[in-house]
Symmetry: C2
Subunit: 491 residues, 2 copies
């Protein structure tokens, strides 16, 4: 544990290395630190103090990067809000985390009252020094995506962030001239951890230059080439779109040494297409509660064993358990529990949720998976998605894979609806392939020869598209609500 | 800080990566850990316990690497002895550190009574688990080289070792497929730190294959090529010999991404020759008391500014001070003091030496240097070598550089001898170039036009060679003794 912010460490150790690449503008670590110190002074003049919780609406801009570092500089606690939330949802998170200030770096007016950075008071003459950080000092509160259950604020410490960044370096490698393209939103751990890693390593963050902070495949493709990124984090949807727009044979940049693929499970087809194109894909599994990566397969491991998320990162231990918390034999599917220096101390202000999630230092991820004979982890299913119907377990991914084999179906989402007799009933929302028509009866017949009876969806509804979170996960609750008729779903 | 040994972390996180390359034999981390656990069991059966101090005589062999890790596995304290010491010197260090056990991995019979590894009892059925390590847990006691003053045992903690290895990674880069050639002896911090870094990063150590553990230029040259090392640590003498044997134009291996050059100051000529050959030299300055590197210039920085040792590593602060400990203005030469998580808590069992060396958390290195306008550190002189004659400071390196310009002189060492009138008198030991004869009178005349009168050696003695430590430093005290006639010097 190092007793200073990653940025102040980098500015001391590597002042002339590039820190932030924004098109033609490049700031080195000394320059970035100077900007951040000044911004920290303005935040202090605004009334933000060490330990204060600050809600922030962040885009993928230089000022957003500086705001994250400036709050760290003051020792304030970052509370990033998902910018896609409704005003009411934002208001609840701001209140839940006890934030006295809300700041925004968005171009447009934010959905809640927030101070834009240019409305901050000027900095005092004497700028505040970087705050001393201990392992236990809070870094931020990250609300879990909320696709299931009520939002909980995962409290991450600086000890969590340093341990995660260090272990990630020794899994993926870190070079002084690395350049990490910031494709993921900064309100997710996937985006934030890029900033922390890059500062700690003294390497550069490259901004994606998305207009209005909206993901654009062609902008990303262009930036990959012009900005000579060596690392990029993608969710499967982004990789899918890149591969569709630039299929096999089109030149990916030579500079790219690693694509960190996570946030959701990639379909085998996307992964296969990426490997056929020779891309250095590293499949990862992580969660906010563990400060990002839990396990990551290197590109070499991904090529050898496509689909695995590899071994746990250095210092993390993974245990696959039954309901009673006891480890299951190798190869058996159970709940993934993790322990190590990256694991959060708990959910902020929620002792009940914390007690349910953390048992004897082990974090219950709620996800299902198994360890193979080589100790590599495979993710089978998000636990909260598990459907139990008539006492039989149904794994939606298994049913979805069958549905996707149907010639007329492009996408599928299988969920459980409450059922008086069976507990849960298996139902599916599907999207037709372009130009195709899906007959629910025909699909059910198609399934009958491929799945045990209790796994076959009792209801199949055709939608124009499936709702997804910013990180590419299908919002299963909304699909379930649409199918059950409780909510009208429109993209 | 990670609560386990670097090897046990690597074996969990990266079991299949190569750990130890010994000619055709390659052990991966799982295999190395299995060997080390078994050896730890045998050491435990021999009576070695957590916290026990164990003197070790180490060569650069696989069994020596395993012994270092096995002692860590038990939480025992490593006390490596310089294998070139006399039996009396070894005995004093063993007693001073309170070692109850002495072990040896040397081929030959060691100079003191020591247990060879094959004489250890068999391991018990249940092998001991790896010891939990805290930041304060002692790693080892390293006796400083003893070219000046009485030997002191620098106590290094695991916190020191982890901080050093991490910061080194972010200065030099670390890649999963790195291979570090172990050229330096394991009884020096330069050699030991290669083991610790490689395990933490999950990359490989390549053994040099020296017969009888003696440095051999041609073996090193061959291993650099056959074993595809990416990193190598060299002292200037080693680099000099490599460059002499394989001058410009002869192909160095393409795999080599970095030569870490330290342990002593390289002459400008050696550095220049290396840069002209296009070698990726990173000049470093470090000391046992700071667990290895203090400052390191990357190859790019070394090319741009040959001679600097670059900026302090991440987390370390360097201050150049006057005698009163206050920082001097930039550019002024003073004593280098360093503070940070790599700095030892003190000299073992020597509160007096500790109090003299550590003041308010700042380690007095005893070395002289300055920081330039860019914050890069330059080493001017080892403080203990400073000659004060008639109230004037004489820096031996300055006089030595002039002597080396003389057409008949290959090497020079300038020291101060006690003098009743002037306090110290400047004298020089020199080595003639092959086929040349050195006339002391002629050399003095040569100096007269190049140096102020008080800097000119009053006595010049021609030797067949200069005595050096294993790490390549000239043993100035022995040269001084030989010149003053108190001791007969023979190579």
């Amino acid at each position: 544990m190092l007793n200073a912010t990653p940025l102040s460490l980098a500015a001391q150790a590597h002042p002339r290395r590039p820190a932030l690449v924004d098109g033609a503008t490049v700031l080195d670590y000394a320059q970035l630190d100077a900007h951040v110190s000044e911004l920290a002074g303005r935040l202090a003049a605004h009334g933000i103090r060490r330990g204060g919780r600050v809600a922030v609406l962040l885009d993928r801009s230089a000022r957003a990067v500086q705001l994250v570092h400036a709050l760290a500089h003051l020792g304030a606690v970052l509370v990033p809000l998902n910018t896609r939330l409704t005003p009411a949802e934002m208001g609840r998170q701001i209140a839940q985390a006890g934030c006295r200030h809300t700041l925004s770096t968005l171009e447009a007016n934010p959905p809640v009252e927030a101070t834009p950075l240019n409305a901050l008071p000027p900095a005092p003459k004497t700028l505040p020094p970087p705050a001393p950080l201990e392992a236990e000092t809070p870094f931020g509160i990250l609300f879990t995506s909320g696709t299931t259950g009520r939002p909980k604020g995962a409290l991450l410490t600086w000890g969590n962030m340093f341990a995660s960044a260090t272990a990630s370096a020794f899994r993926l490698g870190a070079l002084p001239d690395d350049r990490w393209l910031l494709t993921l939103p900064l309100y997710h751990i996937g985006g934030l951890s890029i900033l922390m890693r890059s500062a700690l390593y003294g390497s550069a963050v490259v901004l994606p230059g998305f207009a209005d902070d909206r993901f654009e495949t062609e902008t990303l493709w262009a930036r990959l080439h012009t900005d000579r990124a060596t690392l990029v984090s993608l969710v499967p949807t982004m990789l899918y779109r890149l591969l569709q727009a630039h299929p096999r044979g089109e030149a990916w940049p030579q500079s790219l040494r690693l694509i960190l693929l996570g946030g959701a499970a990639a379909t085998p087809e996307t992964l296969e297409a990426a490997l056929e194109s020779g891309l250095p894909v590293a499949v990862t599994y992580g969660l906010s509660e563990a400060a990002s990566q839990v396990a990551t397969a290197t590109p070499e491991e991904t090529r050898r064993k496509p689909g695995t998320v590899g071994r746990p990162l250095m210092g993390l231990t993974v245990r696959v358990t039954g309901e009673d918390g006891r480890a299951l034999p190798q190869g058996e599917i159970g709940e993934i529990r993790v322990r190590g220096p990256m694991v959060m101390p708990g959910y902020d202000g929620d002792p009940q949720a914390t007690a349910a999630a953390l048992q004897d230092g082990w974090l219950r991820t709620g996800d299902l998976g198994y360890l193979d004979a080589e100790g590599d982890l495979w993710i089978v299913q998000r636990r909260s998605d598990l459907i139990v119907s008539g006492g039989e377990n149904v794994y939606p991914t298994e049913v979805e894979a069958v549905l996707r084999e149907h010639p007329s179906i492009a996408e599928a989402c299988v969920v459980g609806l409450p059922h008086p007799e069976w507990g849960q009933q298996v139902v599916a929302g599907v999207v037709a392939r372009s130009g195709e028509t899906v007959s629910p009866e025909g699909v059910a017949a198609f399934c009958r020869s491929r799945l045990a009876g209790y796994k076959i969806p009792r209801k199949i509804v055709v939608f124009p598209s499936l709702p997804r979170t910013a990180s590419g996960k299908i919002m299963r609750r909304r699909v379930a609500a649409a199918i059950s008729g409780k909510e009208t779903y429109a993209d």
